[in-house]
Every structure is written in C-alpha cells, then in structure tokens.
Symmetry: C2
Subunit: 466 residues, 2 copies
Amino acid sequence: MFRLITNGSRTLLHFLLRRRISRSGKCSVALQFEILGRFNRARAARLTLPHYVCQTPLFMPVGTQGTIKGLTNNQLEDIGCQIILGNTYHLELRPTSQLLDELGGLHKFMNWPRAMLTDSGGFQMVSLLHLADITEEGVTFQSPVDGKPMLLTPEESIHIQNRIGADIIMALDDVVKTTTTGPRMEEAMYRTLRWIDRCIAAHKRPLEQNLFGIVQGGVDPVLRDICVKGLVDRDLPGYAIGGLAGGEDKDSFWRVVAQCTAALPEDKPRYVMGVGYPLDIVVCSALGADMYDCVYPTRTARFGTALVPEGVLKLKHQAMANDIRPIDATCDCMVCKTYTRAYIHSLVTKDAMGSQLLSYHNLYYMMKLSRDLHFSILEGRFPAYVCQFLQKMFPKGDVPEWVCNAMEVAGIDISSCCQPISSFITRQANTQKIVKLTKLFVFLALLITPLSYYIAFRVSLDRFRH
Amino acid sequence: MFRLITNGSRTLLHFLLRRRISRSGKCSVALQFEILGRFNRARAARLTLPHYVCQTPLFMPVGTQGTIKGLTNNQLEDIGCQIILGNTYHLELRPTSQLLDELGGLHKFMNWPRAMLTDSGGFQMVSLLHLADITEEGVTFQSPVDGKPMLLTPEESIHIQNRIGADIIMALDDVVKTTTTGPRMEEAMYRTLRWIDRCIAAHKRPLEQNLFGIVQGGVDPVLRDICVKGLVDRDLPGYAIGGLAGGEDKDSFWRVVAQCTAALPEDKPRYVMGVGYPLDIVVCSALGADMYDCVYPTRTARFGTALVPEGVLKLKHQAMANDIRPIDATCDCMVCKTYTRAYIHSLVTKDAMGSQLLSYHNLYYMMKLSRDLHFSILEGRFPAYVCQFLQKMFPKGDVPEWVCNAMEVAGIDISSCCQPISSFITRQANTQKIVKLTKLFVFLALLITPLSYYIAFRVSLDRFRH
C-alpha cells in the first residue's frame, strides 16, 4: 500500500474510493460496482478499481508475463484496453513476485496505468505441469526449475498475488476437468469452498486488492448452487464462474452461466473465466455476466486468423494473397486503416509482424465488442444490437439452437434474425424428402439402365434375325 | 508510373520535381540533392525523392521483406524514419515482384508513404546461398524453391527492382570478399563497371526510380579510383561505396571511404553500404558520406543490446534485473519514456516483445544520430558535436587511432576529447618503465631470497658451532 501511494493520481483515486465506499458501509473498499443500465438480465456497469474505472461488459486480454504479446502499453491504451490479466504462475517463475514486490508491483514494473487481474496460479500448475497433484493442503507439482516437488497452497497463492499487486486477485480453486462428474467433482467444489476461507485469511491487502471467489461444480446444477451459496455467504468483492470453456457442450455451458448469474448478488461483478469467443461473450452478457478473459484473440492471431463481424477471416488462405481490402472495411483500428489483407497474408506464419498486427486487430475487435455491449445496454437497444450481431455472423439465419435457447432465457427476442422454428422444421422435412426422392431415382436408374440395354439388344437381335 | 500517379500528393511532388529539375537541365529527374550546409568535407543536404524529402546524413533501417521487424508504419514515422531498405532477393521470393507490381508496388503493398531503396539481390545470393557462382552473364545460384540452377543478370535485377518500385534502386555488382586482392578483385571491379551499362540499359523507369552505381575495388586505391571514374562518367543519380564493412581493418575502411567521397561528384548523394556502427557513421559523415544502411541496430536488439551514447548497454546482464532506470535517461523515445531496464531485462531473449522494444529504441537512436549530424553541420557546430559524441563514448580519452587519423583528414579538431599524442606517448613510456622495474624487482627478489636464507643459515650454523 505504501508503494501505491507514491503515485499522485492513483493515491487520489484510492482515497476517493475508500472515502466514498466507506460511507456506504460496504465491506469492499477497493472496488465499486454501479449498474448504469439494464436490459432484463444484461447489465452495463461502472467498475471502479484502484487503478482504473472500467465499463462492463468487459473483455480482459491475457498478458501472461507482464506483456500482451507484441503490443506496447501505448497501443493497448489506444485500442481501449481497460484491464489486463497476468498469470501468477508465469510471473512467479519470471521475474518472480519477490522482484515485483521490491520494484513496487507489476503495475509499476510494466508501467501499466490501468487495471490488472491475476489468476491463482493453480490452473496452470494443473494444466501445464506433469505430476501435479491436488491434496487438501494445496497443489503439489514438480518445480520446472529444479524438478523438486513443490506445494502451492491457498495462502501461498494469495501471498504471491499480494506481492504482484493486481487490482483483482483470484482465490485458489480445485480445478478438475469440466466434464468430470461424481465424487471427484463434489470433492473439488467443497475443497474450493474450504480453500476460500484460507484465501480470505491470508489476504493482507484487502484495501487495495479485491479477492474474487470462484464458483465450481462442473455441469451439475446442485453442486453449482451449493458453491454459489457458500461463496455469497463470504460477501466477496466479486465472483467468478470457473470450470467452463473446457470441453462441455454449449447447452451445458450457457445453462451453468445462467444459473450462476441468477444466483450471484446483483451488486457484484460476475466474471466468466476462460471465455471466450465473441458469440459466447454476447450470450453470457445477455445472461447477466460482466467480465471475460481468453487467450483466443491473440492465439488465433498467431495462427493467422482475424476476428470479423462475419466470424473469422483466415489470412493464410491463398485468396488473400492479392486482396487489397483491409481485414474488415467497417473496422477503425490502426491495422485496418493501414494494411491490406495481401500484406498481412505475406507475413502471417512467416514473420512475427503478422501475428502482431492480427493480435492488435483482434484485441481491438474484442474491445469494440465490449464497448458496443455496454452502450447498447445503456441506451436500451441491446436486443437490436444482439440481432445485428447474429445477422452478420449467421446471414442465413442458422443461429445455433443453444444461442436461441439462451436468448429465450435472457428475454432477448432474436426472431428477426433467425429462421422461425416452424420454417426450420419445414426446411428439415424438405431436406428429408429430397434425400428420399434421390434414393428412389438412383434405385430406378440402376433398375432401368440394364433393362433398357437388354430390350435394345433383343430388338437388334430380332432385326438381325429377320 | 501510371500507378504512382493515382496518389494525389505524390503526383504533385513528382510533377514539381520533374518541372524543377528539368529546368535546371540535369539528367536526373527523380532525385534532387541540395547541399544546405558544410563543414569541410561533411555535408548536410536535402535529398528529394519521389516519395519523400529526406535530410542527410541519413540512416536507412533494413526492412528485408516489407517490414521492419516488430515496428508498425506509424511507429517508424514516429521515430522519424525517412527511408527504408527492402531486400530484392527476399521480396522476389515472397511476396514476389510480380505480385508487388500487380498491387501497385511495394510502397502501396506495405502502405509506406516515405522513401524506399532496394538492393540488387546479388549480395544475398552470394552470401546466403550455396553454389552461387559469378560469370559474365550474372550470378548463378541454386533456387531455394526447387533447387534448380537459376541466373540473376543485371537486366533481371533491374527488371525486378522496377517492379518493386523503390525510389532508389541499386546496380548489380560483382561482390567479392573485401579482403580479396589480386586478379579476382580486379576482375570484380571491371565486371561491376561492365554490368552498370547493362543495368542502365535495362532500367525502364528512370523518371520515377534512381539507379545508383556501386564503387568496388576492395582496399586497393588504384582499383577504387578506376571504378569511381568509370561510374562518374555514366552520370548516375547517386553513388554507393560497396565492399566495405566486410572484415577489412578500420584503417583501410576509412581510407577507402575518404578516397571515394573525395573523388565522387559534389552534387550527388554518396551511400556507404552496410555501415554501420554509430561511430562509423560519424566518421564517414565527417569524410563526406551521406547515406548508410545496416542490420546492426535491429540485429543487436535481438541479442538484447541497446545503443546508448556511452556505447552499448547489455540488457541481458544480471545487473539489469532490478535496475528501474530507463535504457538511456537522455533519450526521448517511447521505450525510454515507458519502460525500465528491469522490465526489458525480463523480456529479452525470452519474449519477442524484448527485441521489439529494443529495436524501437535502437532505431530511434540511429534516427536521432542522423538528425544531430544534419543539424550540427547545418548550424556550423559539427566539430563540437563530434567531440561531444566521442567524449561520451570514450570518456577516458582513448579514442581509437583510426578515428583520430580519419578526423585529421576530415579537418575536424578532436584534440579536446582525446589524450594528446604526446601524453599518450608519455603514458606508454611510463608503462614500459613500470614493466622494466617490475622485472628487475622480481629478478632481485629471486636472487636475494635464497641468498638471505643462505646467510641466515650460515649465521645460525656459526652460532651453533660456537
């Protein structure tokens, strides 16, 4: 805290924040969440954090080790990035939380003036490392430095995150594969609940950093419900919905989001972890979620794919080689204003500049999506925005069924951009008819052809005889 | 030409250029070179090219395949980059000159509004490829695509460069190792002279592109002299000094530059190819050179080295890990204003962002060096600038002898920042004295020690006997 106060403007923000919120009598002093507009379950809010005042819904780019690959801080501010995510596990390996602490935290280290969030490190330990094992004490894993067994406890995770100093820090949770069911999932959910108390007890900077709890429970509504209730009882500054975007079917995905957002408190931010695709973000926002993070926009950029309103554009495709249009003619980003598809095609997968330019464009796209969601909710035109979004992505009206179902629950009428169910059924029935007729035709052809040859042969034979 | 005229502002510039120069009766219509200021041999000039009005002395970053690694066009303009270099050989492989021609040239392809220069492609074919062989017809090499033998002739090199469309194009020369002497160097020089006529004859866009001839001849003053005369007779828009920065000793290097710049016409730009280090550029500018190119600033950035007035700063060094100063406190570049040494240390050689930030800083350093040279010559304070530069780089006054010699020929008094020769000699003499005294001391010690032991032994023996 002492270190943060060295910066004048931040001190002022921090002071005002504490003053304003302590008057309201809320326990969270480093976060303020004001809902500015709603459309049914969807909300547009102002999320005031120690380092920045963010607008929700918001997307957080993943910065792993203190850098969003290829983008400078100036560029991140240019595209309207409000908050970035740092990975605790990677930061602990390099440059280490001890050094970050000595140098005044990650904000100061990377000179990032806006908001920041760190994960607990547990997910990476389980997903990246061999021999990781979860016990009641914590996550045991093989050190990638010297190969010795190491233990990440809830206390240690919070201690490291306290030293890194992000605006939002995440509780250590027991992460299991999303599609797991039965006792292991139940154990993981209850352990996550037990660990949250150890995280809260270990958290030494509650006045400057906000600890978010993570709802676990897989695709089981009963477990999710117990977890939500348990976490809400702890009155945390914010809540995350974890364990999604890990291979579950889309119908389970949105139903878990819908269940959790309905049960989580209205006046706290709701963060869906590891999500996602632009379509997922639109759907989750309609269901009342506020925050998202995903490596998708930057990872897909490295593979040569650009995000566009129509879905994706694969710059590696040979058709791009002499296409002198921008990636997206409707996009105002630096890349679309400066470079052609042909130019980016010549770079992708050959020169780092290709993925750098695509990362810039893709993150701009996500930031614009966040802004559009915010203002369309605020200005009461959210359903129109969703319809327009779906129309561009599914011009034939073939909006996936799970989206239609989710939108029905969200109370968003998207009938204008979908084929009505009846016409869909008619179309399906027509398709079946065509298949049947084709089969019949082929059968008849196979039957008639040798028959006609036989008749022709007989006629010729008869003529020959006469 | 037709394609260039599609751009309004460029058309105007082109028109004015042609109009102004055709009145003066000069043969070069796509280049104007006005010397604005001099200090002895050094000159500050305005170099007007079809796409940009440049100030000399100037450094040209190497952009290989239509991109300066990691920097966007906006960033290049921000750092004051006036002209970039493209590599013909690489561009012909990807995206191919044919595609570039179809899309309106490299300027349009990469949307670079300022000046551009392409090399002949010959150097890369000789240096990068196996089985490259130079005959009178051209450079025969093994195709990197299908392994078949291919031939780059002077005509083909110019044809490709005409399609790429840079403001300055380079003649194909016969490149041999700088330190070669004897008949092979003589052959290379005369072949370069024969090829220039084939280049001139093949050049189809002299109204929009400037063909520069390249002086060859190694470190042999007679050969260099013949080559300069031969090229000057052809009255080309500009001249390059080739075959340097390839392993020759520094004394030979500056003497070749001094000889060539003295013999080349006053009213034409002089480009020293493949140079170089900041010190080299200061020396060559003092000797009357105007243009430079080198991969050094970006290559050394990839190895974690920053250019600073004191020389270089190795960001990989462990001492940088918690150094919260900028790379150079006197530098105004985005990187120095935003990031610390500690932050860059955490990235170099681990994340592409490290070399990206260092490339930005290093190119900014080179651009500032170019500007400083220009204005110090223009404002009559060139010797003071050179002294200040040398003082920072050699604070102990140990300016290399070749620099002192070159500066004497350039008529730049650098005595204020060097140890005077007499004191240097005195120091050397003193060192020699110390060495002699040490030798004597060791000799005496070796002599006295056993002698004293012997005496002590004899005394003890005598006492024992008595």
